[in-house]
């Protein structure tokens, strides 16, 4: 394992925070399409780029790199900021 890791090497994807997001949304969101508010591209949450080494987790658009979601957990609460997401599309189960 390289020790001179760059920010790029530390990049994961939305699957890395799937457990946390499922806990918050009450369902798996890795397959949920999310539209980037910056460039308009739609990607599954699992395909977003994830940076989880910061004091929080940051999800970025894989196309334009804009921040789509920030998640910060403290002892008392979880704060999610998602100005970078224009919409999610949740399929209706059985529909």
């Amino acid at each position: 394992m390289a020790t001179d890791v760059t920010t790029h090497d530390l990049m994961l994807d939305g699957n890395a925070v799937a457990g946390l997001l499922a806990d918050l949304f009450g369902a798996d969101v890795t397959v949920v399409p999310a539209k980037c508010a910056t460039c308009g591209e739609v990607n599954a949450m699992g395909a977003l780029h994830a940076y989880v080494r910061a004091p929080g987790s940051v999800l970025r658009c894989p196309i334009c790199g804009a921040v789509m979601m920030r998640i910060v957990q403290t002892d008392r609460a979880t704060r999610i900021e998602m100005r970078g997401i224009a919409y999610f599309r949740f399929e209706r189960s059985g529909g």
């Binding site: 994961l12 939305g14 457990g19 798996d28 599954a44 949450m45 699992g46 395909a47």
Partner: protein, 246 residues
């Protein structure tokens, strides 16, 4: 019934060394709802003072093994969780686990058509769940695994992969060893590149469904090369893992 996101106490049913630095743990879960190949579990360790740390591990076993699931863990020397799992955990121990988690990087035998699996190091783990499931389900779809490992001693699941690729059901494995090759090595001996992907993909055709899992650099270069070869991005699913301090 337990929900996937409820923590449950798994019992370690067995421990199995895959390589010097990689070990598999069979976990028996009291309220397992079943998984799809490619999904993972979260594992939580809590110390006596309440400090807790979570890690996500891909499930290595096929769903048919439920309610037992295997995880395969690489020992990261300066990690918080993997050294504990490797050095301390023995059969009979209990671990806090929740899952299954994730529905994006998933393949099931009900999905027809040729399948290309590309793995780097322990990135082979979720792909192995797909390969094992494919064999158990009796699927015959043409399937190839391209696995990049550093040296011959670091190929995870080597014997099982060789055995499965000898069964004539359409599964084949191609190895590349990037740092050290044994004498007489007939496999690839370089990092995964466009020419290699093109050769491995060729018998499957351009319509193949592709799953790539490994370090970010490998995932990016393989996915970009496949797009240059002519595959649509929508055919390719990726899962990146990095030096997450595990």
């Amino acid at each position: 019934m337990a929900r996937p996101l409820d923590w449950q106490l798994a019992t370690v049913a067995g421990v199995h060394d895959e390589t010097d630095a990689v070990r598999s743990f069979s976990l028996t879960l009291p309220a397992w709802t079943g998984h799809r190949p490619g999904q993972h579990v979260d594992l939580r360790l809590t110390s006596e003072d309440g400090y807790s740390v979570e890690r996500s591990y891909s499930i290595a076993s096929e769903p048919e093994r439920a309610p037992e699931v295997d995880i395969t863990v690489e020992r990261i020397p300066d990690g918080e969780v993997s050294p504990f799992l490797h050095d301390v955990v023995v059969p009979g121990d209990r671990l806090e686990v929740r899952g299954p988690i994730g529905g994006y990087f998933v393949w099931e035998a009900s999905q027809p058509g040729p399948l290309l699996l590309v793995g780097g190091g322990s990135g082979v783990v979720p792909l192995m769940a797909m390969i094992r499931h494919r064999a158990r389900a009796g699927a015959m779809n043409p399937t190839r695994l391209l696995l990049s490992s550093r040296g011959p001693g670091e190929i995870i699941y080597r014997e099982e992969l060789d055995r499965l690729s000898a069964t004539q059901d359409g599964f084949q494995v191609a190895h590349t060893l990037t740092r050290e090759q044994p004498p007489g090595w007939s496999g690839y001996a370089r990092r995964i590149d466009e020419a290699m992907l093109s050769e491995v993909l060729d018998p499957l055709g351009r319509e193949a469904r592709v799953y790539i899992c490994g370090p970010t650099a490998l995932v990016e270069s393989a996915a970009n090369a496949l797009v240059r070869i002519g595959l649509a991005p929508s055919q390719i699913r990726t899962e990146r893992f990095g030096p997450t301090g595990t």
